[in-house]
């Protein structure tokens, strides 16, 4: 993607599907596997990451012309670390129960390679607004993966959906918890880390299957019939 032809459609398609950070790039797996035991945990950490990425991409883009090439990495890391610490303090102040659940994985957003990766690959070469969109979309792609994986693990592991939502949205949100299987004994395997690996494998397989079907269809039909977004495959 060069400076002159920034297409938001392409940014969004890349971030959410084609180069999804969680299931295509396979980056940032540490939080992916650790906190995706429930939907609420996965989505919360994903959104925190997306917020950091939008802000860090924006900030990196603002300063991109003043930072000499050889010190850009320390400057980017500094910006990211400051933003993550601010979000960490804010979460601790306003959403403490959730902060306690996510624990060490909030400060660990600093070392999530997606964040520095997008700052280096996109924000350091592009204007502010597209950079912020790119950061948020890539983070949101990760959020979707964490959410889907969390939903799979939670349904099979605990038989519920959205448990712990009261940690994020306050006590009144407890009514949104869905019990999928009443009196479910629990399936420990899905809650423990192996369940995360297996779930992630299934999601990747599912995505590849959809992509292959789409490309087969594209080969059989004239390309003109297809919506423009799927031509990129």
């Amino acid at each position: 993607m060069s400076d002159s032809t920034i297409s938001y459609k392409e940014i969004i398609w890349n971030g959410l599907w084609k180069n999804n950070a969680g299931i295509v790039a396979l980056l940032g797996l540490c939080p992916l596997l650790a906190v995706s035991s429930t939907v609420v945990n996965g989505v919360s950490l994903g959104l925190a990451t997306a917020l950091v990425m939008a802000c860090s991409n924006g900030a990196v883009s603002v300063v991109r012309n003043w930072v000499p090439n050889e010190i850009r990495i320390p400057v980017f890391i500094l910006i990211i670390a400051v933003l993550v610490t601010i979000i960490q303090l804010a979460m601790n102040a306003y959403m403490q129960p959730l902060y306690l659940v996510l624990g060490i994985f909030v400060p660990l957003i600093v070392v999530n390679c997606n964040v520095l990766g997008r700052a280096e690959a996109f924000a350091s070469k592009n204007p502010v607004l597209p950079s912020m969109v790119d950061g948020f979309v890539v983070g949101f792609g990760l959020t979707l993966t964490l959410g889907v994986l969390g939903a799979m693990r939670e349904v099979f592991g605990k038989g519920t959906l959205f448990s712990g939502i009261d940690l994020a949205l306050g006590e009144s949100a407890r009514q949104f918890v869905i019990t999928v299987f009443p009196d479910y004994q629990g399936f420990l395997f899905a809650i423990l880390p192996p369940g995360a690996f297996l779930g992630l494998g299934l999601i990747i397989a599912g995505k590849n299957w959809i992509d292959q079907r789409a490309s087969k269809k594209a080969q059989m039909q004239p390309a003109a019939d297809l919506p423009p977004s799927s031509v990129t495959a």
Binding site: V63, W66, V67, P68, E70, I71, P74, V75, L78, I79, A81, V82, T85, I86, L89, A90, N92, A93, Y94, Q96, P97, G186, L188, I191, L192
Partner: protein, 214 residues
């Protein structure tokens, strides 16, 4: 030649320093804004936790303020001074809430709070943090199971020392099949904290207040 390298390096250093200063300033402001809020939330969380094992109606003092630091002791399992929260009613000691560590959980330390009434009867126990296996040992957590409530109403005068064990070891405390290490550690820690309380009762209630939440 060498002066231009020097100039280039010092420019870079200057830019890096400027970023560091701006970043530090931003963090300092955020810290100052959030610090009182975080302290208040932590206090409320602790109060809510204590409220589970010591009904608010039973005492009339500010239990968080009326805390004292206890020196490290093997019975409490702590290596640093830990706070004890003292509840009193009309100036008379009613109960003490001890922070206790069971060092021998299945996977590491189990941190608990134990509320003991002035007469040596357990008012309640809660596990604060633990790393026990989900689905096996984590029934000590009130969010998973009510097991931890078996300590309510127990005391050293009711059960002699030999009864303070899980049933598998010949004691009086029920546990669930498949996970004995975890309840064994919890029972042992509660037993030791009761012994500590009985031996230090006067000291616990007479120590000057030294609250970690001023």
């Amino acid at each position: 030649m060498s002066t231009s390298i020097l100039r280039h390096a010092s420019t870079s250093a200057g830019i890096l320093t400027a970023f560091a200063i701006v970043g530090t300033a931003l963090l300092a402001v955020t810290y100052l804004v959030t610090r009182p809020i975080i302290a208040e939330t932590e206090k409320q969380a602790k109060l809510a936790l204590i409220g589970q094992i010591l009904p608010r109606s039973q005492y009339d003092n500010d239990i968080i303020k009326d805390a004292a630091l206890l020196p490290p002791s093997a019975e409490l399992g702590n290596k640093e001074p830990t706070p004890v929260y003292r509840a009193s009613k009309q100036g008379r000691p009613y109960a003490a809430v001890l922070e206790v560590v069971a060092p021998d959980g299945y996977s590491g330390k189990i941190r608990m709070i134990v509320a003991i009434k002035a007469d040596g009867v357990v008012s309640g126990v809660r596990v604060v943090t633990h790393n026990e296996t989900p689905g096996l040992g984590d029934y000590i957590d009130i969010a998973k199971n009510a097991w931890i409530r078996i300590f309510e109403g127990k005391s050293l005068s009711k059960y002699p020392d030999r009864d303070w064990k899980v049933k598998k070891d010949g004691g009086k405390f029920e546990h669930m099949a498949g996970a004995t290490v975890t309840p064994r550690a919890v029972v042992k820690a509660v037993h030791k904290s009761l012994k500590y309380f009985n031996a230090n009762r006067d000291n616990i209630f007479s120590l000057p207040a030294d609250s970690p939440h001023p």
